[in-house]
Symmetry: C2
Amino acid sequence: MRTLAVVGGGVIGLGVAWRAAEAGWSVTLCDPAVGSGASWVAGGMLAPLSEGWPGEDRVLDFGAAALARWPEFAARIEAATGVAVLVADATLTVALDAADLADLRTVADWVGGRGHDLRLLDRAGVRALEPSLARTVRAGLHAPAEPAIDNRRLVAGLRQAAEAAGVRIRAERVDSLDALDHDQIVLAAGAASARLWPALPVRPVKGEILRLRQRPGVAPAPQRVIRARVHGRAVYLVPRADGIVVGATQYEAGFDTTVTVAGVRDLIADAEAIFPSIGEYELAEASAGARPGTPDNLPLLGRLTDRIIAATGHGRNGMLTMPLTVDAVLAQLAGTPLPEAEHADPQRFSTAHPPSLSSAGGVR
Amino acid sequence: MRTLAVVGGGVIGLGVAWRAAEAGWSVTLCDPAVGSGASWVAGGMLAPLSEGWPGEDRVLDFGAAALARWPEFAARIEAATGVAVLVADATLTVALDAADLADLRTVADWVGGRGHDLRLLDRAGVRALEPSLARTVRAGLHAPAEPAIDNRRLVAGLRQAAEAAGVRIRAERVDSLDALDHDQIVLAAGAASARLWPALPVRPVKGEILRLRQRPGVAPAPQRVIRARVHGRAVYLVPRADGIVVGATQYEAGFDTTVTVAGVRDLIADAEAIFPSIGEYELAEASAGARPGTPDNLPLLGRLTDRIIAATGHGRNGMLTMPLTVDAVLAQLAGTPLPEAEHADPQRFSTAHPPSLSSAGGVR
């Protein structure tokens, strides 16, 4: 039985470990605190279409391919563990002013022109879908196929599935990949991956997020994911069984994951601009994580050596792209790389090994 | 050896238990979670002078009498336990507009006229004391004798002192005072006291408070307690060794102690209006407590029966008035009530027992 080490216990590492164990590998997952990093802090939006923008073809295509794999993945998790991860079926991006509306039109035209289902709604159309939004919302972009998941249920479900499939979890920090003697290694350590493989162009992008709980007598959360831009800052509300997750700030702040007063202030103000009842919710938690950012907003997904596969750099979209990433890593382990992951080659930024050459060499 | 039960393990109950044990009582303190209520959430201001207002003579006198006992009490705690509780020496109330300034003048005239040391400062005077305050601060009222304490250090110190003095702490909820067979009982259960003695006019007044931690490179906290009124709401900043406590909202909300989004939003906005650097602080904690409020803002402090003494109703000033309360309860136990506590008679609202009559009767 061939041995696999998975370094990193976020949703990527857990998902790879689970599926690899099911595929017959002897899998060990190493993480000093499984599921406690960016995967725990995340919001759970799966919204590649609403986030599409002309020129970012590869990011859209990668995200859409990942989204297409989610229904099956969600069903598989639920079958294996009984854990239902979906918390919303659709996404509604709202416009507060004329500039926002122009942006929604741009997204609708470009993403819609590439065959995806996006619908522009006027004020009345938004109100019909989500009557609790602010009266100042003047238009919306409805993405009926963009759901959301509960990231914490997902972490719990993946861990349960992985353990049931025989994955051994070691609560240890890996300081060097050389110290691992497994046949194959998957590096899924998120923003910390560059500590283990310095050439990887992944950096921490700090994000703060709030978890709000509905109190008795207070207006219920919107049923869909609500996204907006307020004072130039992106904000989103993701439904939960007991409330709402509000995200997320974005800073280049190294590995600092303290929650700042200003971050919480901005999230509350921006969320309140689109859903006024939020003031009466309980502020149950404010937390921060480090997303693994890359220069082109595509992940770093593929072979680094004959023994090491990178699966990191998922930025704000680790939840969305996890099912595709897992499939891509499994395909690499089987020796037949997935076409959808082609542009995520982790060596694409290396001038010493341009992709067109390295794809033929042993390094890849 | 006479036995005493103290019901309630906030600073009042702990202080009474400690000093009674030292005075020779066999003391049992009952609280399912010692030090976890309003005493844990509090800010620690000791500011009866800055809060003075014409007509509220009794509240001022009671607070000033309590303040006068603090230096000795703080020294006594430190001698007994090594715990130093003071975190600031003085209080500065700032004015942002002409109405605020008029209020500061009213306080300065009235409280100053009663012999207390308060000094009005102009813009430059405020800046000289606390250069990090907002440029919009136009005047200040300096109370050089109003310090602040760290309420959590105080809770820890009092508990340590009580246990060292032989107090037995029972982690149990008391559901009826009749169930206690001690010679004397002190009811110090804060806002919950009316559950045990329904005639007590004490009600929960919800308050939310933030604990902020200074991050590297960020402006240090003011050295003094800073108080202000912003958009009509009172806000204060109390220094701590590692940051600032910001308080406090005030609601009539029953025993609800959830932290609301709106409460946190208002505290941040109001604090930022007087100390702009606060946005860069870490939001380490947001919590809520239930202050024990009374109709006239004086505590309920004195005999309910020959066996039961009330020590509750301290409202927002439990930290301030604790040393006086402890002395008053000890004086009651010794049979020689303190004159300073006269107006805090817990039966003063009872029409069936007006104070002038009941003071001669067995009920008092």
